[in-house]
């Protein structure tokens, strides 16, 4: 069985005020493969990430589970930490115990039980994870800007000034958008053309 480490985040009080993170970590130690589990105030902080990296090395972890906020928020952060710790970044799973748990439930017992269930779910999954390698694709270094108002003009100029080609498509016969219809503009009252 692969050696799994579980890291439970308090997120200050965002998670810990509803979910008993210490208990979740304790219960995680009973799950298959889990050899190390702990909670910490802010897992995404530098010391939090160091904790993960150190544990990977000291505990010879082969799989990592982080229970914290939504993966849509910090999946890449932790993936990078796992990679820096010496593991393939995809031997990692994230558990959402903030957006989908502590923020939407009041009952501490139920929320804590749910958190443990979700951690178990991730542990079961991560045991089946395989190392993955990103592929590469080429990039055409030209940009298309659709709309030639102030937004499109500013973007086009900035991109063009970095040295890349820009194609600007405007459906009217002139660029400028609404701004050229204005007289003077707040807050400076300078002209708008």
């Amino acid at each position: 069985m692969k050696r799994v480490g579980v890291f439970v985040c308090d997120c200050g009080t965002n998670i810990a005020s509803v979910v008993d993170t210490e208990r979740v970590a304790r219960e995680a130690l009973e799950m298959p493969g889990v050899v190390y589990a702990t909670n910490y105030k802010y897992m995404c902080s530098d010391p939090g990430q160091d904790l993960i990296k150190k544990a990977i090395q000291e505990q010879n972890l082969e799989r990592v589970v982080v229970a914290s906020c939504s993966p849509r928020m910090h999946e890449n952060t932790f993936r990078k930490a796992v990679g820096d710790g010496g593991l393939n970044p995809y031997l990692f799973e994230m558990v959402n115990i903030r957006e989908q748990n502590s923020w939407v439930h009041n009952d501490k017992e139920e929320a804590t039980r749910k958190a443990s269930d979700l951690v178990r779910m991730a542990v079961f999954k991560v045991l089946k994870n395989e190392p993955l390698q990103p592929g590469t694709i080429p990039v055409t270094k030209r940009a298309l800007v659709i709309g030639g108002g102030i937004a499109g003009m500013q973007s086009a100029l900035d991109i063009a000034d970095t040295g890349y080609e820009v194609i600007l498509v405007e459906r009217e016969a002139t660029i400028g958008g609404k701004m050229v219809q204005l007289d003077k503009t707040f807050p400076t009252l300078d002209c708008s053309a």
Binding site: F124, P138, G147, A151, S155, V169, E170, L182
Partner: protein, 461 residues
């Protein structure tokens, strides 16, 4: 504007629309339709003789929002970029019934071409910035209490901009559309369509408090003895130097009345506005010569269609959806597509410019790398199990699966047969092909059947 036209790295297609977008981050193929202009812009020197000689003179100018006229061959305004005209085919005598052709005869560079056709152009790009902006909510459809647009002296803020603009139809003099008189008293109504969930939009349009303060200042500065009344729900001036600007309009004498105007009706050649002054707690009546409505911003006409075409989502109001409201305000959920300006939500110019520069940096970041790394959670084929049935090919929404020939050892020597192959650049990792695969040859890396079943098992323990 001119800086854009002159920049050696910028190629402009005006009078053009994007018709098709294919591909994925780093590798988009775009089809652009350049509409027929009937003027060869390479030859045209922008002299404008055609405009002065065109006999069709009384067309309502879209640029002046109906407050001024234009000809059938026209530039939107004298400083247009590029500074070249187009012919409005629907109203040109020559294009409609073959008679006229005056512009062709007098054009000193022979630039007129009545046989011009739409042209399709293909371009390859690596990133797309959406900057389609906004349009104004059409108040004439819903605001019966303000006259459904039948009072000529009830206008929008954008029309007011044309009236005060030095190159506008009145040369910058504030005159009433009905009789051309200078209004003595101008009333402004804010939140027409904004913050009004019964008739308009739930959201705040963000720029109107400030531009109404600007308009009231312009009335007080340009009209000697003039009066400016502003009807408001709240005054929102969150922005650097914005509160100070609002105070300037108060000090100049703008009269702010907290209340929503319930009715506008004519009295003689003036308009009466009935409202409640909610600070005094009593009904109030104001007579005005001109009424200016701060109408809500809404997504540009056609925004929904172009979002579908490029392949990203819109929000509940039809504005383009950013990937995260705080942390990814210029990205979309589609790789390589970024947002700038009012197309993402109502915005004033300072915020628009900031977001536009942000989008530009995202594009530059993308281009700064020699190649892109793809996310590895893509579909994978076990060729030994694939029967080559092609069932997965039409299922894939990204055209990422094609059939390729594979060679195998058969009982009587090598045989070739077809099997599915996944293009990892195109595959977005949705997994739709996997449940379609009858022989179990496909799996999604990172979300394999085994992984998901393990999760189900763990939850049901």
């Amino acid at each position: 504007m001119v800086a854009v036209a002159q920049h050696p790295n910028i190629k402009m297609y005006t009078y053009s629309e994007v018709e098709a977008v294919n591909g994925y981050i780093g590798n988009f193929t775009v089809t652009i339709r350049q509409k027929a202009k009937y003027v060869d812009w390479d030859k045209c020197n922008g002299c404008g003789t055609c405009e002065t000689k065109c006999p069709t003179k009384k067309l309502k100018s879209e640029f002046d929002l109906g407050l001024g006229n234009r000809t059938a061959i026209y530039k939107a305004f004298p400083q247009a970029v590029p500074n070249k005209p187009v012919i409005d085919a629907e109203n040109c005598r020559k294009l409609k019934n073959g008679k006229c052709g005056v512009c062709e005869k007098i054009c000193p560079t022979q630039a007129i071409n009545f046989d011009d056709k739409d042209e399709l152009i293909t371009e390859n790009v690596g990133a797309i910035v959406m900057a389609t902006g906004f349009d104004l909510f059409d108040w004439t459809q819903t605001y019966g209490e303000y006259g459904y647009g039948k009072f000529p002296d009830v206008i929008t803020g954008l029309q007011f901009e044309r009236l005060v603009n030095a190159s506008g139809p009145t040369g910058g003099k504030i005159k009433r559309p009905s009789d051309g008189k200078t209004p003595q008293s101008v009333a402004f109504i804010k939140c027409v369509g904004s913050r009004d969930d019964t008739k308009g939009k739930t959201y705040c349009s963000r720029a109107c408090c400030m531009y109404t303060a600007k308009h009231s200042l312009q009335v007080l500065e340009k009209i000697p003895g003039g009066e400016a009344y502003v009807f408001y729900m709240d005054v929102r001036t969150a922005g650097k130097n914005y509160e100070e600007f609002y105070q300037r309009s108060l000090n100049a004498g703008a009269k702010y009345i907290r209340g929503r105007v319930s009715k506008i009706y004519p009295r003689g050649d003036r308009l009466v506005l009935k409202s409640e002054d909610t600070l005094l707690g009593m009904p109030i009546e104001v007579e005005a010569d001109l009424v200016v409505l701060a109408t809500a911003m809404e997504p540009a006409r056609g925004a929904e269609e172009i979002a579908k075409l490029v392949g990203f989502s819109t929000d509940k109001d039809g504005f383009f959806q950013e990937a995260h409201p705080k942390l990814q305000p210029v990205e979309t959920f589609t790789g390589g597509v970024y947002l700038a300006g009012a197309c993402q939500g109502p915005k004033d110019i300072p915020d628009t410019v900031a977001q536009a520069s942000g989008a530009a940096v995202k594009v530059a970041m993308l281009f700064s790398k020699p190649e892109l790394s793809t996310q590895p959670m893509v579909s994978e084929v076990d060729v030994s199990k694939c029967s080559g049935c092609e069932f997965c090919v039409p299922i894939c929404p990204y055209q990422a699966i094609s059939m390729k020939q594979v060679e195998e050892r058969g009982p009587k020597g090598p045989i070739t047969r077809q099997a599915a192959a996944v293009n990892e650049g195109l595959c977005q990792g949705c997994g739709a092909c996997i449940s379609a695969c009858r022989s179990g040859a496909l799996n999604l890396k990172g979300f394999t059947d085994e992984q998901i079943l393990a999760e189900v098992d763990a939850l049901c323990l």
